[in-house]
């Protein structure tokens, strides 16, 4: 009971911190830091306590911690919202609180807390060098809300509350990607991220609605742990030959495609690098993109209903597997040709998410969940590490331009100083090189993260989870998925080696890199912490039949996470081909990469560009997807909105019709006036008046006003009358 109550409390501290910072805390940067980080620490402690409780509970899958309250009355029924901790949410919670905490702490250093504000800095633009971020408090407010959204999503026991957390994260990603909104590119990126994910979200909303209509509930337990409900959904036909379960599954999966940046909605994620680096880590590791995978893992029973392990995939699963595998390969090819240190990581995120999606698609629930956890740790590490690199580069740039400025007076400085004076892109890997000497801590932690990403055997977490996915693909009899994922793994190892080689090895290729220096302790601490997890997290899921070390450590992931399903998935027998493949691709890719990019001099061009020629351009331009979408969707939509709907339909057709009616009425009125009012009605009135006037004019001559004339006339008439009376009458 108390644990149930504690679960409710997990998401709340960051929300309260958000409110407190917004309603006054923002006045003090120090207070904001304490509020945000303190709240996150409370959530972290609560989360770990709940996780510990969950791990100690027997049969947690069948008896999860739940508690709910009625929230939204819908006619005859009421939607209840509540919290749920089952194995899946427990391990998700585990990595979310750790990575979030690491990112929060890292942000303090990243935003130069405690430094004075640089007078040149303006809100909405990144600080020039060394000064505290002008919108420091706002950053912590937003990131707290972000954490609240993710924690809500993880602990929710129903789809509606999950959707609420989901959308709040959407808002936060919008705000944080556009945190430096003073840059035009950031403004574009924030809108792009929001709209692209919203495409998936509206499908997901339909999925929610359809699910509620079909089952009368949105509670995970009631739907997903009830075979009758699932079977009924699987047997009800919907459209296009899909069962209702398949349709709902695909609609929900569309949400994942948007949120986890799967092809074809992957375009927003690389642009999301416009945000500060902790945000990138937050989005790409701890929260946003994980949420999408979490959703399909959560709905795994619904997505796979009607599928027997080892049997042919259902349509829904096939779609998921194909999109996942394709995305994994597709994104890794792009990553090979990127030069921006964060963009490489962005595409690697898309690629790794593709792995997880593909794993769900082929029914490898545990493998996908395992990779989700390990990926969160090592990708957070990589992003924070790259942030540390960029931070160091920016400092180096500031330092070099300062020294150049000092060298300037008097005589012309050396050519190098002059060059250093030019502003170089602090994120372009071709401006780096040799940073391992200047930033050793960053280098070694980054190396651990990179090796984990590449799946360096045995010692890194990434190896175990990725190997698990590969062996599942192999074991489930999905050779195509297996080959595609293996190819992607090769490329992953290659571009990771390229990235490490370009960034840290060789000699510095710019003055900024020469002057770069190690980041502060508050930034390095999270790196160290995350690198520990990037190694150790893998040990929790070693296959018990693995040669030599199998069984030495219990396969915790398999046992614990597997419980989340009604039927505990049977562990696949161990097989050597996938292991060998993963060894070969990982080591081969890494070796190849190190060979090529180990020691490139200043001003070198990418050897890959020489070898691949136009293909490299295609890759560097990301297969022209942005341009394609712009041509296919964005511009037609603008045209439709501005020209068709507004200018044509509303202004020309509807208003034109109205104005036509108006003009016709005016014309009719005019005609009535001219044809009837004026001649007939007015004419008659005028006629009476005119006739009277004419008569008066005619007769007025006799009205001379001369009394004598009147008298004479009177005399005449009297005479005539007398004559008549006297002469004629008798």
């Amino acid at each position: 009971m108390t644990t149930d109550l504690l679960i409710w409390l997990i998401p709340l501290p960051p929300l309260l911190a958000f409110g407190a910072i917004l309603l006054g805390g923002y006045r003090s940067n120090r207070l904001s830091t304490w509020l945000a980080v303190g709240a996150m620490v409370i959530s972290w402690a609560l989360g770990l306590f709940v996780f510990a409780q969950a791990v100690q509970t027997d049969h947690l899958g069948a008896n999860p911690f739940t508690s709910s309250i009625p929230w939204l009355p819908l006619g005859t029924s009421v939607i209840e919202i509540g919290v749920l901790i089952d194995p899946l949410s427990a391990i998700t919670l585990f990595f979310v609180v750790w990575t979030c905490l690491a990112i929060f702490v890292y942000s303090i250093g990243y935003h130069n807390s405690g430094k004075p504000r640089d007078a040149e800095d303006v809100p909405g633009l990144p600080p020039h060098a060394g000064g505290i971020e002008p919108l420091y408090a706002r950053f912590f407010a937003f990131i707290s809300l972000f954490a609240f959204g993710m924690l809500t999503l993880v602990v929710s026991d129903n789809l509606l509350l999950l959707f609420i957390g989901w959308e709040i994260m959407g808002l936060c990603s919008y705000l944080l990607i556009g945190f430096w909104f003073g840059r035009e590119s950031a403004r574009k990126a924030m809108v792009k991220a929001f709209i692209t994910t919203r495409v998936g979200d509206v499908f997901m909303l339909l999925g929610i609605v359809a699910l509620y209509t079909a089952t009368g509930t949105l509670n995970f337990q009631e739907i997903l742990r009830s075979p009758e409900t699932l079977n009924r959904l699987a047997e009800t036909p919907a459209i296009l030959g899909l069962s209702l379960a398949g349709l709902i599954g695909l609609l929900l999966f569309a949400g994942t495609v948007g949120k986890s940046a799967q092809w074809p909605l992957h375009v927003w994620l690389p642009d999301a690098m416009e945000g500060p680096t902790p945000v990138s880590a937050m989005i790409h590791a701890a929260t946003m993109v994980s949420a999408g995978i979490y959703l399909i893992l959560r709905f795994f029973p619904l997505l796979t209903v009607g599928w027997q392990p080892g049997g042919p995939l259902t349509t829904t699963m096939a779609v998921i597997a194909v999109i996942g595998a394709f995305t994994a390969l597709f994104a890794s090819t792009i990553a090979v040709a990127q030069n921006d240190i964060k963009r490489v990581l962005a595409y690697s995120t898309i690629s790794q998410l593709g792995y997880m999606v593909a794993a769900v698609g082929i029914g490898a629930f545990v493998a996908a969940a395992f990779h989700l956890v390990t990926h969160a740790f090592f990708k957070a590490l990589l992003f924070l590490g790259s942030g540390s690199v960029i931070h160091g580069m920016e400092h180096g740039q500031a330092a070099s331009s300062k020294s150049a400025a000092q060298a300037m007076p008097g005589q012309e400085g050396p050519a190098g100083a002059h060059e250093a004076h030019d502003h170089v892109d602090a994120q372009d890997m071709w401006n780096m090189g040799g940073l391992r000497r200047r930033m050793p801590w960053t280098f070694y932690t980054f190396l651990i993260g990179g090796l984990a990403l590449a799946g360096f055997p045995i010692v890194t977490a990434g190896f175990w989870s990725k190997d698990e996915i590969l062996s599942s693909a192999f074991g489930q009899g999905q050779p195509v998925v297996f080959v595609v994922l293996a190819a992607a793994a090769l490329l992953t190892a290659f571009y990771t080696a390229r990235q490490i080689g370009l960034t840290f090895l060789g000699k510095p290729r710019s003055a900024a890199a020469e002057h770069a220096h190690e980041s502060g302790r508050v930034m390095l601490l999270p790196l160290v912490l995350l690198s520990l997890f990037s190694i150790a997290a893998g040990w929790a899921g070693i296959h018990h039949e693995f040669p030599l070390i199998g069984g030495a450590i219990p396969n915790f992931v398999e046992e614990f996470v597997g419980q989340a399903l009604t039927e505990h998935p049977e562990a696949l027998p161990f097989a050597f081909p996938p292991l060998l493949t993963s060894l070969v691709v990982s080591l081969g890719g890494l070796g190849l990469g190190f060979l090529v990019y180990r020691n490139l001099p200043r001003g070198a061009t990418d050897p890959l560009a020489r070898w691949l020629g136009p293909v490299h351009v295609l890759l560097r331009r990301k297969y022209y997807f942005d341009e394609l979408y712009d041509f296919l969707f964005v511009r037609p939509a603008y045209w439709f909105a501005e020209t068709f709907v507004y200018a044509w339909v509303d202004r020309k057709v509807i208003d034109g019709l109205l104005h036509g009616v108006g003009r016709a009425s005016l014309r009719l009125g005019g005609w009535l006036r001219r044809a009837i009012d004026l001649p007939v009605v007015n004419g008659f009135g005028d006629l009476v008046g005119e006739t009277t006037k004419a008569a008066g004019r005619t007769f007025r001559v006799i009205q001379s006003g001369r009394v004598q004339a009147y008298l004479a006339a009177g005399l005449l008439f009297v005479g005539l009358l007398l004559s008549f009376l006297l002469l004629v009458k008798p």
Binding site: L22, P73, L74, V122, P123, G178, Y638, V645
Partner: protein, 512 residues
């Protein structure tokens, strides 16, 4: 308070009008006094409706606080007022928005006395529609509201105001004409204008029509269908449903800020209220028959309204078009209820109507808030052109935060009010009109696009240096005016039961 209880609705209804008369007696050259007097007067109905809200008992069937007096005895029309769960939230909305709109009208500098008086008259007109239980009374108030609004746009509007006010008036009058005829038809046929009686008799009315001794040689069904469409068109113009919506962007854009707030916040609700109060109860069969057409129009309103909004370069016009989009959801809910009425999926009808009523309330909050914010920025910059702003967030952080908040409520972000009602409408509509609902999602997507366009153009991007030395921040009075709206948006989004508790029992009784 027995006396207050017995005449509560009359007090609510006529205090603004009385206040308007008092204002007309005050000296015209003391704008400060006039503003505060009008604001003070408008607080009285607000206080009374808060009391009404607390005293209203959702569990009881039928109308409450009913008051009835003879009025036009000769044609059996009476002064009959009462409230139920559909009208109580709307009364509260009206009495809440009026003081806030008056508070934002401080920038009105000329003919303050006439402005304030007209505004209070307008409030009486709008409240009358929500309160009256007599068709003729309903129509009278329906028309009364039109006149002050016309003058508010025509006298205190911006550049193109005479065109806009004329369009507004003519459009609405065109609808009212059919409405009046249909009301007379029903009144003569039933022999009463009392809504309670008519609702009981009219839906099953089967006798041939004899009007003034002239038998109309049309079947009862045809006459009813014609009357149905007369009602529908009158209300559809007011809502407005596509394609009767083009008066709205013009009127909203040209009206003064407070006028736009009331237009979007309350006047549009009159039409939707008419659908719920009159069209569905009086014409269940016709409504069921034509529900598909209505749903199609609603979807067109949602989708094309959103696109129309997206296509604007004028901030205020963009917000105005968003009303078409949002009110489309109300009508979609109504259409679903009409289709599902009396069938097995009546539960969906309840959800859809619940959502529609809540959406009316929510749109009242968010649209009024958005117009208020447009007004605030317009006051300072004297432009509404979106391309003229750019990057104002650092100059007006509080304003920016409030704009973001309100825009998100308007967009339907979960956790704020818009989501609850849109979800309920979609949930209720999906089983009834699956395909339409799916198409309406395009509108939801584009809603995101136009909100982003507005917010992004005003707040984000490189600062437009033209404003660098302007004072753009929102002032305390304006914050005070929007704060109640924000509190309501958040409270409905987080804990919707407090308002659904009032709406739902009535809807359940009417459509369950």
């Amino acid at each position: 308070m027995p006396f207050l209880d017995a005449h509560l609705l009359t007090w609510i209804l006529f205090t603004p009008a009385l206040g308007a008369v008092v204002i007309l007696l005050l000296p015209a050259d003391r704008p400060r006094l006039l503003r505060w007097a009008a604001f003070g007067v408008s607080l009285v109905p607000l206080a009374l409706s808060l009391y009404l809200w607390s005293a209203y008992q959702p569990g009881l069937p039928g109308y409450q606080f009913v008051e009835r007096h003879d009025w036009y005895v000769n044609i059996s029309s009476s002064y009959h007022v009462g409230v139920d769960g559909i009208s109580v939230p709307l009364v509260l909305l009206t009495t809440l928005l009026t003081p806030l709109a008056l508070l934002i009208s401080w920038s009105i500098g000329e003919r303050v006395r006439a402005y304030m008086a007209l505004f209070l008259f307008l409030e009486t007109g709008m409240l009358g529609v929500f309160l009256s239980l007599d068709l003729l009374l309903f129509f009278v108030f329906w028309e009364i509201g039109l006149v002050p609004m016309y003058f508010l746009i025509n006298q205190w509007g911006s550049a193109n105001r005479s065109y806009a006010s004329f369009k507004f008036l003519i459009f609405t009058m065109a609808g009212s004409l059919g409405l009046l005829l249909a009301i007379q038809l029903i009144g003569l046929a039933v022999g009463s204008f009392d809504m309670v009686e008519i609702t009981a008799i009219w839906p099953t009315f089967r006798e041939p029509f004899v009007l003034a001794g002239l038998p109309i040689h049309l079947s009862v069904e045809t006459v009813k269908a014609i009357a149905f469409w007369a009602f529908v068109i009158a209300f559809a113009i007011k809502v407005p449903v596509w394609p009767f919506h083009t008066w709205l962007p013009d009127a909203h854009t040209e009206a003064p800020t407070a006028g736009s707030m009331i237009l979007a916040g309350v006047l549009l609700k009159l039409g939707a209220y008419g659908f719920l109060r009159l069209v569905l109860p009086l014409y269940p069969e016709q409504a069921q028959l034509y529900a598909g057409a209505l749903a199609a129009l609603a979807v067109l309103a949602i989708v094309l309204g959103a696109f129309g909004s997206w296509g604007q370069s004028d901030f205020k016009r963009l917000v105005a078009y968003s009303s078409v989009n949002h009110m489309g959801f109300v009508i979609l809910g109504v259409a679903a209820a009409a289709k599902a009425y009396g069938t097995l999926s009546a539960g969906e009808a309840v959800t859809a109507v619940d959502g529609a009523v809540l959406q009316m309330f929510n749109h009242g909050l968010s649209a009024a808030g958005m117009f208020l914010l447009v007004g605030v920025i317009y006051d300072r910059t004297h432009t509404r052109d979106l391309s003229a702003f750019r990057g104002l967030f650092p100059l007006a952080p509080v304003y920016g935060g409030i704009l973001l908040f309100t825009a998100m409520a308007s967009l339907g972000l979960p956790g704020l009010n818009g989501f609850i009602s849109e979800y309920m409408v979609v949930q209720g509509t999906w089983p009834v009109f699956t395909a339409y609902t799916a198409v309406a999602m395009i509108g939801l997507l584009i809603t995101g696009a136009y909100i982003m366009k507005a917010v992004g153009s005003v707040l984000h991007g490189p600062l437009n240096e033209a404003w660098a030395h302007h004072k753009l921040e929102i002032n305390r009075r304006e914050v005070l005016a929007i704060a109640p709206l924000m509190v309501l948006m958040l409270s409905i989004g987080v804990w919707p039961i407090w308002i659904l508790r009032v709406i739902e029992p009535t809807v359940l009784r009417l459509f369950g």
